[in-house]
Subunit: 333 residues, 2 copies
DNA sequence: TCAAGGAGCTAATACGTATTAGTCCTGCTC
DNA sequence: GAGCAGGACTAATACGTATTAGCTCCTTGA
């Protein structure tokens, strides 16, 4: 119904108001640098109102090469089926800040598919003024191309790839991890284990660096399929271990596994063993990853890059330490 | 760095390959209806490859008035701060189907703000090929304008407004509710209460219609601020009520309130009182709302509208009944 | 030798807006 | 009445691609 009726354009307004399309553009665009009689201005406005004129965003974008559209490239589903989505707060922060800055978001689909589809999606990225990338993965080819072309993009999470040319907003895991370890040392712990992912991601390596910086004698255990069992925990106790630090993973799986193992071994935290998580679920001893704030800051940085404001293109946010109930002084021997 | 370098266009390829821009467009667009020598085709492709050409999505969109971009207008945050988001499955379904059909999504921000921002966002909607609307609210002015202009849009949830001209994918609450009531009647229940929202939304009214169609004698209780308390429940029992049906709300609040009241009154389900929810959390007696499927179908319908395939523009999906543990035969008197 | 037909390509234009370099007035000054 | 200033507006063009009508050659056949 009414299918033939197409939305009015500036040319339509111009014809009716008896002016040129350029005049309409000037008036409606609020371009004050071109002088225009008040009467004309009024007339154009009225006609526009009558016709229900709405600027065509695509044409606007093409003409002024700015669309107030930010891309969001997730390398996974943005609305995962899984209810508990650790990264959700990041997206929430992104949306909030985008709304505040008057930017809409484009969700690229197919980013979790096979390589070819992924690369195609990366190309479509250019539809936006700039793009947020959100994930551990850096497909160097296409991303490098974007960076080379000066296309504004921001990664969420520290990204040392491409010779450090990738702008990002990350979390300062090194400092935060070191703080957690220092606190354990201050409490008197000497024999400590650090359980980390078998993963080369910067987020994993930064934590390890922080741990070893503060407490070089810490034993590092790499998770790789082998679960932490009650036996593992008993072994630690036998070795005189009084504190365990776990890398905070996406899902908090490792943390839960260790807790379970401790319980199964008939031990309790923090009496028998102090337990801290480097970036875990809220309320657990260790530190918190400021996800929401990362989302917000990433949007701000991206908009700065788009508008060519000079900002530090690589930012690390502080992770607030959390004093939970799982950490205490070591049991006196 | 490399800020001056702008991405290559078809014109650049044309110059280098010694052909016209039109030729480049024909070759790269895979337009088989224009004859082209294989050698030329090759040459153009190679140059495009060398330059790392990527079509400018905005220009493409302007030229062929199709962008493979679907709008998503939520009237609220798409990534709400609140962890438990009942509507999440809908968005999840939308994303899944969009990916399958090769469509990207635009998230319009400011849709939950004050009226003016909301209307501005509705206008921006036109940037996409079509738009999904997701919420009980229908701002008649701007939406009516879109519909009149033949802009493809689909609401999620039945929308009788604008004289029934709004395309939608909803859930068949009438039939599903009637089924639940019929089942209660079959079990022998005669005195029944229906607790519903004090809300004129179609989703509320459809349920009531279904309830009364199957069991006209059902007493209807409208929630409005007044909570259901233990006293309320005792009153029901005193009146000989053996079953209560609750409207499934966004958060399942009403359901939980009733359950709590029943417990506080020292009663149990289904022994003292059968309890069913019309579209509640999974596993609870009553029926389930096929959220995910609604999301998927809405996307499919929208794409059909965009591509001008003829499809029923208003669809109601079946809600699968759920036999939970909260419903049983009435206590024999 | 000319017409017909087809292969291979391109000039021109459309899409809808923003911007810039003007043009054409009117009124004023000396 | 020539010259100038400035006010009000617009023609032309840009943005980057898609489409279409039509042009130029070349081949074929009579």
């Amino acid at each position: 119904m009414a299918a033939g009726r197409r939305p009015p354009r500036q040319a339509d307004i111009a014809r009716i108001a008896g002016v040129s399309q350029a005049t309409v553009s000037v008036v409606l665009g609020g371009n004050r640098s071109v002088r225009m009689a008040e009467s004309t201005r009024q007339r154009v406005m009225e006609v526009a109102q009558d016709l229900g004129y709405v600027p065509h965003p695509v044409a606007t974008r093409l003409a002024r090469s700015r669309s107030n559209l930010l891309g969001l490239y997730t390398f996974r589903s943005a609305f995962p089926t899984d209810e508990a989505d650790t990264y959700h707060p990041i997206l929430s922060g992104v949306e909030e800040e985008a709304a505040k800055l008057g930017q809409d978001l484009i969700l690229f689909t197919g980013t979790s598919g096979p390589g070819a589809r992924q690369e195609a999606a990366i190309r479509r990225t250019r539809l936006a003024d700039g793009c947020l990338f959100f994930g551990r993965h850096v497909p160097e080819g296409p991303v490098s191309r974007l960076v080379d072309d000066g296309f504004p993009l921001v990664y969420i999470g520290r990204r040392p790839e491409l010779g450090g040319r990738i702008p990002y907003v990350g979390a300062d895991y090194v400092t935060a991890s070191a703080l957690v370890l220092r606190r354990l040392l201050d409490l008197g712990h000497r024999e400590i284990r650090y359980v980390r992912e078998a993963d080369e991601a910067p987020s994993s390596e930064d934590r390890q660096r922080g741990v070893l910086r503060a407490a070089p004698r810490t034993g590092v255990v790499r998770l790789q399929g082998t679960e932490i069992t009650a036996t593992t925990v008993r072994g630690w106790i036998a070795d005189g271990v009084t504190a365990v630090v776990v890398e905070g993973t996406d899902t908090g799986t490792a943390y839960r596994a260790v807790r379970r193992a401790v319980e199964t071994a008939g031990l309790s935290t923090p009496d028998d063993l102090s337990l801290a998580v480097l970036g875990g679920p809220p309320g657990v001893s260790g530190f918190e990853v400021p996800m929401r704030e990362m989302g917000r800051r990433a949007v701000r940085l991206l908009v700065d890059l788009v508008t060519e404001k000079t900002t530090a293109p690589q930012q690390l946010l502080r992770c607030p330490p959390v004093d939970g109930a799982q950490v205490g002084p070591p049991r006196s021997r």
